[in-house]
Chain length 359, copies 2
DNA sequence: ATGAAAGCGCTAACAA
DNA sequence: TTGTTAGCGCTTTCAT
């Protein structure tokens, strides 16, 4: 009897009249054992309601059958849905999963990953804050830990990543607006304060430098769609709001709509911006879509309950979590093929916030 | 060097020129050690970037510094927000937390708790499916595991629970409607298919038998408010919809509004029912609140974005998770006072879906 | 096919 | 105050 009255493998072995090693072989499902021994051990385990100590197993084997998920904020809808996908895959393989929120703080992220490492997780899924600084992660990877990043990709690191097809999704959404006749289309997105977006002239248009990030890739898709349609890019029609200055979102919407030539359609790069745009436009008396069309990112419940219902590009959060976990388990099982960058498709859901521009 | 190139306490001891035990005392922060030894061990640990193996520590000490959270569905807003509260408390104490969704399946709940037990969690927070059958939980509790239930209470079990002040919140909300002049108030709630609510005549009114559950306690609050105001209880103004028949929600709203004397106000017992009521009433041409007032439970984002904004009773999910974790840690630290039933207050947020009844 | 024995990294008695 | 030693429960050689 070990941990608080639980039976140990020695109890089972004794009850079955075999050695610890034989009992372990049957219970662990490895090595050789005769039918007779199998039956006796199985019976003894059932009779004593035996459940192996995963801790002892981890200690000895080095594998814990646990993984970790470190995201910005588990109470955020996107992450909690992705978490569900991760858990479903993990649980199906007998794994348990640890979760921690990093609040977009590099320190918290670091201590979370370190803590999980000290619990010897077999793998880690995370949404890294900084796609630039990841030395501490590389150290874990070098030490043999399997890592998959979700929603973001590390720059210059050889870990797998799973992201939505952000740029292509944005190209399609903006192209759709162009096809309907819009010529002045605004883009409103968020930006990481630490790694602000840098727009640069490039020939006739603008180019967006820097690493791949959902917010930036969506802006890139916007620029690409304009370029492909030979439409001019107007710097005034592009707005980035720092994530730690949410009060600026409304200001940015107002600035854009107060332009001498305001946009006839607005494409927003994330759910917060979509919400701000919808609320601000409505509050300021703009009728959607007659006065201005709106296409947003992410499919939150409210987008179907307001009037008009909002046309959105949907990120498949559950699917992204599922794919990330599948990829992680492939690595845990020993797959050592080159790093992959999985693109999870998005869906364009047309509702009622888009129409052709007024004459 | 142990687990994939990590240093062990022996490495630190050797580097510091002391015994394993001394190094352990310094690193583990227990027992006696001289300043000199402390300094050398700390320096060695820092130099070698040492991080203790929590697995080995758990093995030896029996405490894992992990807890588990088993909820119905981690992608649900209520649970993911509660999870955040749990994590914040746990992480502040150096604990990691496992999460699993049970999908309201007794089998999944059972296998999830068993799995967590085999990982030797120091405590468990869960939202039990059945408040009646909990033999397997009692077994874990008897074996010394600390357990706190969240949002639901086990009937006839001595474990701590943390729930919203459902009945009182409902009394207040319904009383507010009564004070505004409403006499015919409808109640619409959800019910567990396995443990359906049983309404029974009791004197002049109706009584609701069965265990304490959020959905039932809210209905009880509704009944209590009517009773206290000496208003008659009309069975037709009470509707329960089974959770696995969501399509019946709309039917129930329509049935009630089609009554010869329809309600002038509706109180809904959960977020799903609130949503259905809002959508159905709007779709059917009822103007809220002129034709019918609406008070809902839970404060989801959409309730502030629709028109009219919905008056709600807010459950403080984060706070509930926080309180549950605090209680759990008190038990883990050895508190053996009698079981507590913590009531987390709700907030009544008046918005624009309520007014006095028409004449 | 089975058993004996070593040992994963740490903590906790105990001895010095 | 410090060091020695014995395990926690399991897996994994290595013999048999």
């Amino acid at each position: 009897m070990g941990r608080q009255g639980q039976h140990t493998i020695s109890d089972i072995a004794a009850a079955a009249g075999v050695s610890k090693a034989s009992a372990a072989r049957v219970l662990g499902g490895y090595g050789y054992s005769s039918k007779d021994v199998q039956a006796r051990v199985t019976a003894a385990a059932a009779a004593l309601n035996y459940s192996p100590s995963r801790i002892a197993r981890t200690m000895r084997s080095g594998r814990s059958t646990t993984i970790g998920f470190v995201c910005a904020d588990i109470s955020d809808a996107f992450f909690s849905i992705a978490m569900r996908g991760i858990c479903d895959v993990a649980n199906a393989s007998g794994y348990q999963v640890f979760v921690t929120s990093s609040d977009d703080s590099v320190d918290k992220e670091r201590s979370a990953t370190d803590a999980m490492d000290s619990h010897q997780v077999d793998g880690l899924i995370l949404t890294p804050i900084s796609v630039q600084e990841h030395a501490y992660l590389d150290r874990l990877v070098d030490a043999g830990l399997s890592v998959v990043t979700l929603d973001r990709q590390l720059k210059g690191s050889a870990v797998d990543s799973v992201v939505a097809d952000n740029q292509q999704a944005s190209v399609s959404a903006v192209r759709r607006l162009i096809d309907m006749g819009h010529r002045r289309i605004g883009f409103l997105g968020s930006a990481q304060p630490e790694e602000p977006p840098r727009l640069r002239r490039s020939g006739s248009g603008l180019r967006l430098d820097g690493p791949s990030r959902p917010s930036l890739d969506r802006a890139r898709g916007y620029l690409q769609a304009l370029r492909e349609a030979d439409l001019p890019v107007d710097r005034d029609l592009i707005g980035f709001v720092s994530q730690n200055e949410p009060e600026h979102r409304q200001q940015e919407v107002r600035r854009m709509m107060a332009l001498a030539e305001p946009p006839t359609a607005v494409f927003t790069g994330d759910s917060y911006m979509t919400r701000s745009a919808f609320v601000t436009l409505s509050a300021d008396g703009f009728v959607i879509p007659q006065d201005v069309s709106l296409v947003g990112f992410d499919d939150l419940e409210w987008t179907t309950l307001v009037s008009p219902q909002v046309t959105v590009v949907v990120q498949q959060a559950y699917e992204m979590g599922r794919v990330a976990a599948e990829q992680l388990f492939a690595r845990i099982r020993g797959d050592d093929s080159p790093p992959v960058r999985a693109l999870v498709p998005t869906r364009y859901v047309e509702r009622h916030s888009v129409s052709a521009p007024r004459s």
